[in-house]
C-alpha cells in the first residue's frame, strides 16, 4: 500500500457540483469524494454526465455551481494558466481514442508532457523510454501513432499520462476503442498501476472493466450519483 493510501486522505472532493449547458443539465448536485490510492469506476448510460464529471475533476471544464477540490486546489478559483499548471502536476488523462499527436513519434508524444514543464529533452526522453519499456512498447518508440495498433496507441497514451507522476489518473473509456485482447492488456496495466498506489478514476460502460480494475463502483444517471458500492475485484 502506498503512503498516500495509508494516509487515506481525500484527493478529490466534489460538493454540490452542477453543470449546465444552456438548458441542459449535465451534472445535478454531485457530491463525491475519492481518497488517495483508491481505484473508482463511474458507470452509467450514455449522456448521463460521466465524461462531464471527469472533465470537472481534470480541470478541463468549470462547474456552474458547487466546488471541485483536487489535491487541495479549488479548481473553480483557478484561471486558465493555473489550471494548465494544475493538470501538469496532478492529473494524468487516458482517452478512449488515445488523442496522441499525429505528427510526433511515440517517444516524443510521451516526453512532451514533461517537456512542457521545462524538463530538458534528454531527461524527458530517458524517462519516456523507461515508461514505454515498462508498458512493453519501447520497440515502437520511433513509430508514429498512425502506424501503431490500438493497444499500442493506448499504452503510449498511458505512458504519457504517467509521465509527470500524477496524483490522479483519469481514464475515459480506456478500452472502448480496443479489441478484447488489447482491452485485457490495458485493464491489467491499470490494475498494476493501482496496486503500486496510483489513484485511479475510470469512466466506463464496461462492467467487467469496472469490476476488475476498481475497488468502488459509482453509478451515475441523469447527472446524479444514484448509487455507490464496493466492486472488490482486482484488489
Amino acid at each position: 500500500m502506498s503512503e498516500a493510501e495509508k494516509s487515506g486522505q481525500v484527493l478529490v472532493d466534489l460538493a454540490g457540483v452542477r453543470k449546465e449547458y444552456g438548458q441542459a443539465v449535465a451534472l445535478d448536485g454531485v457530491t463525491l469524494q475519492i481518497r488517495a490510492g483508491e481505484a473508482a469506476a463511474v458507470m452509467g448510460p450514455s449522456g448521463c454526465g460521466k465524461s462531464t464529471l471527469l472533465n470537472m475533476i481534470a480541470g478541463l471544464d468549470r462547474p456552474t455551481a458547487g466546488t471541485v477540490t483536487v489535491a487541495g486546489h479549488d479548481l473553480g478559483r483557478l484561471g486558465e494558466s493555473a489550471l494548465a499548471l494544475f493538470r501538469r502536476r496532478h492529473i494524468g488523462m487516458i482517452f478512449q481514442f488515445f488523442n496522441l499527436i499525429d505528427d510526433l513519434p511515440a517517444l516524443d508524444n510521451v516526453a512532451l508532457a514533461a517537456q512542457l514543464t521545462g524538463t530538458p529533452a534528454r531527461t524527458a526522453r530517458a524517462r519516456a523510454l523507461d515508461l514505454l519499456g515498462e508498458l512493453g512498447v519501447a520497440g515502437r518508440k520511433d513509430a508514429y501513432p498512425a502506424t501503431l495498433s490500438g493497444g499500442q496507441r493506448q499504452r503510449v497514451g498511458v505512458a504519457r499520462a504517467l509521465m509527470n507522476r500524477p496524483a490522479l489518473l483519469l481514464a475515459d473509456e480506456p478500452t472502448g476503442a480496443l479489441d478484447s485482447r488489447s482491452g485485457e492488456q490495458v485493464m491489467d496495466l491499470l490494475i498494476d498501476l493501482n496496486q503500486i498506489g496510483q489513484t485511479l478514476l475510470i469512466v466506463t460502460h464496461d462492467l467487467e472493466l469496472a469490476t476488475r480494475c476498481a475497488g468502488r463502483l459509482i453509478e451515475f444517471a441523469d447527472g446524479q450519483v444514484v448509487g455507490q458500492g464496493a466492486a472488490g475485484a482486482g484488489r
Partner: protein, 769 residues
Amino acid sequence: MSAVWRTARAAVARRRVQTLLIGLVVLCCTATAVLALGLLDAATTPFDRAFEHQRGAHVVASFDAAKANPAALARTAARPGVQAAAGPFGQVVADFPRTTDIPEAEGPLTIAGRAGPGGPVDRVSVLYGRWARAPGEIVLNLPAADGPRRPQALGARLTAPGLPPLTVVGLASSMSRSADAWVTPAQMAALRPRAVQMLYRFEEAATGPELRAAMAALSDGLPAGALASAATHLALRQAFADLAAAYLPLLTVFGVLALLVAVLIVAGVVSGAVVSGLRHIGVLKALGFTPGQVVAVYLTMVSVPAAIGAALGAAAGAALAGPVLRAAFQGVDAGVAEIGFGGWVPGVCLAGMPLLVAAAALVPALRARRLSAAAAISAGSAPRPGRGLRVQRALGGARLPRPVSLGLGLPFARPGRTAMTMAAIVVGLTSVTLTTGLGVTMAAFAAADRPPAGQVGVRVGEAAFGENAPRLDDRRIEALLRSLPGVRQVTAKVFRQVRLAGQARRGDINFQRGDTSPLAAQVVQGRWFDGPGQIVAPPAFLSQRGLAVGDRITLLLNGRRAEARIVGRLMSGDARFAWASWDTLTALDPRASADTYEVRLAAGVDPRRYADAVRAADPGLHPSFSLETGTTAATVVGVAGVFTALLIAVAALGVFNTVLLTTRERRRELGVLKSIGMTPRQVTVMTVTSVAAQGAAGALIAIPAGMLAHRLIVDNVGIVEFPDAMKDVFQPSHLVALALAGVVIAVLGALAPACSAARLTVAAVLHAE
C-alpha cells in the same frame, strides 16, 4: 436549387470568420484593381473626351504672313485628308510684364484674332465673362480650368510694349492650346500680325508620321518656308499624360501585381475553404446531394461574400481614386478635361472579381465533386501519418522551450498547408519589397524634377520687360551672391540657342559656370562635363538628332564655331535642351554673360531672408524660390503607399486565413496539448512561432525576388533610364525592415487565430472530436 441555396446559406452563416475573410480579401483586391485600372484610364481618357468635345485641332499651324496670303491658306481647308479647318487667324506674340495677379497674363503670350469661340475646329470653352467683341478687349486662355475660380480677373487691364491697353473680358480654355489669348480680328489687324494661324483636323491623325504626311501634303502648294511651326495634338496629349506617363508603366506594374496577388490569395483562401470542408462535402454526398449540387453549394458559399466584397471594394476603390487622381494630376494643364475614369472601371472590377473567385473555387470544388462520400469524410477526419520525422526528432531534442520547438516543427508536419501559407507570405512580401522599392525610385525621380529645398533662382532684370537692369556686371553679381550669408553653392547660367552643324534642329544649350549643378546626379551614361567642349544631354535631345555619347559635334553661334563632344546622357529631359560648360560658350561668344544664377543655400537658411538680401543688394536682381517640398514626389509616394498598404492587407488576410484553417484542423491536437498541461500562453507561442518561422523563411525567398523584380522593372519598363542612385534603393536597414515585415505580416495574421486557439475549451474540443 432550394436545398443547395439553403445548405450554402447555412454554411455561410456557420463559417462566419471564413466568409468574412473571403469578403475582406475580395474587397481589398477589388479596391486595388479599381485604383490601378482607374489610374491607367485617367491618364488619357479625360483629355481625349474634352479634346473631342471641343473638336480640338490635330495641328495648330503658324504661317509666315509675308509668304502665305490668307486666301491661299483658306484653300488648304479643301486639301485631301483635311477633315475640317479654321482660320486664317492673325497671330502675334507679345511680352506682358507682370502688372496683375493673373499668372496667365504674364510673359510672352501668343495672341490670335478670332471673331468667336466656335467654329469647325477648336471650339473654345468660355468659362468666365464673354468673348471679345471690340478692339481693346482680350480673352485669356486658362490652362487649368479646374484651378481656383478667378472671375475677379475680369476687367483687369493688361499692357505690353507696342500694344494698346487691353481689358480682360473673358477667361476661356482651349484643349488645342491654339493661343494664350484672343482678341477680335479688328484688334488683331491693328497689331499688324506677321504670322497667321490655321487650325486643322485630319482624317488620319493618330500618329506623328500621319500628321507629318498630312502637313507635307497641305503645304505643297504654299511658298517654301511659309509654314513657320506646327504643334500637334499628340504633343498636347503627351503633355497631359506626362506626369502620369512617367509613372504609368510603374503604376501598371502595381496594378498587375495587385491583380496577381488577388488571384493567388483568393484562390488560396477559397481552396482552403473547400479543403477544410471536405468532411462537410462527404456528409452532403451521404445525404444524397449530387456531385453537381455539391459544386453548386461550394460555389454559392464563396460567391456570396465575394459579390458583397466586390461591391464594397468597387465603392471603396472609387472613393479612394478621387483624391489619388486629384493628387496625381496636380499641376497638369488639363484645360476643361475632367480628371476621372470611365464607369467601365468599377463595372469590370465588380463583375470580374466574383467571377475570378468562382473560377478559383471551381478547381477545388471539382476535386470535391470527384471524391466519394466515404473518401471525403475520411479525408476530413481520419488520423494522418506523421511527416517530417527527422525534423520533428531533431526539434524534440533541441534546447528550446517545447512550445517553440513544436511550433517550428509544425510547418514540416503539414507541407500542403505550409506551402499555402508560404505562398501567401512570399507573394505578399515580394509585393511589399517591389512596391516599396518602386515607391522610393519614383519618389527620387519625381524629386529630381523639382528644385531641391533651399534653392533660390536669381534672374537678371530686363529693361525690355519694364524691369530694372542690375547695377553690377555678371562676375560681380556672382561674387555678390556668393558673399551673402548662408550660401553653399552658386551656378551661373545662360541659355543660348545654337545651331549644330549638319543638323536641321537647333538646340538650346544651357551654359554653366561655378559649382556643379545637382543635375549632374542624373547622368545615366558617361559623366557630367568638366571642361570646355563637353556637352551633356537628355535622351530625347540625342535620339532626335541621331547622336550618342562620345559623338563629336560642331556648335555654331554668331558666325563662330566650337567643337564639342557629348560626354554624358541624362536620365530624362526636354528634346530642345542640353548642358555645357561656360568655357564652351566663351569660344562662341566671348562677351556672353549669365542671366540666371542658381543658388543653393546651407541647411536651415531661410530662402526668404536670402531673397530679401539679394533684392536689397541690387534691385535689378529678381530672386525666386519655392517653399513647396515636392508635391509630385508626395503624390507618387502616396499612390505607391496606397497600393502597398492594400497589398499588405491582402497578404496578411491570406496568412490569417491559412493560419485559421490550420488552427481549425488542429483543434483536437490543441485540446490534447492543453489537457496535458499546455498553458494558453504556450499555445499562443507555439502557433505564432510556427507562422513566424514561415514568415522568416518566406522573407528569405521574397526579398531577393522583390529586389530582382524591382531591378528588372526599373531597367526595362518605362520611358526613363534611371541613374544607379535611383535604382539602388535597398539599403541594409531597409532589407532588415522588410525581413521583419515578413515576420510581422505572418505574426499579425496568426495572432488572432493563435489567441482563439489558446482560448479553446478542452472539454468541448475533445468532446466534439
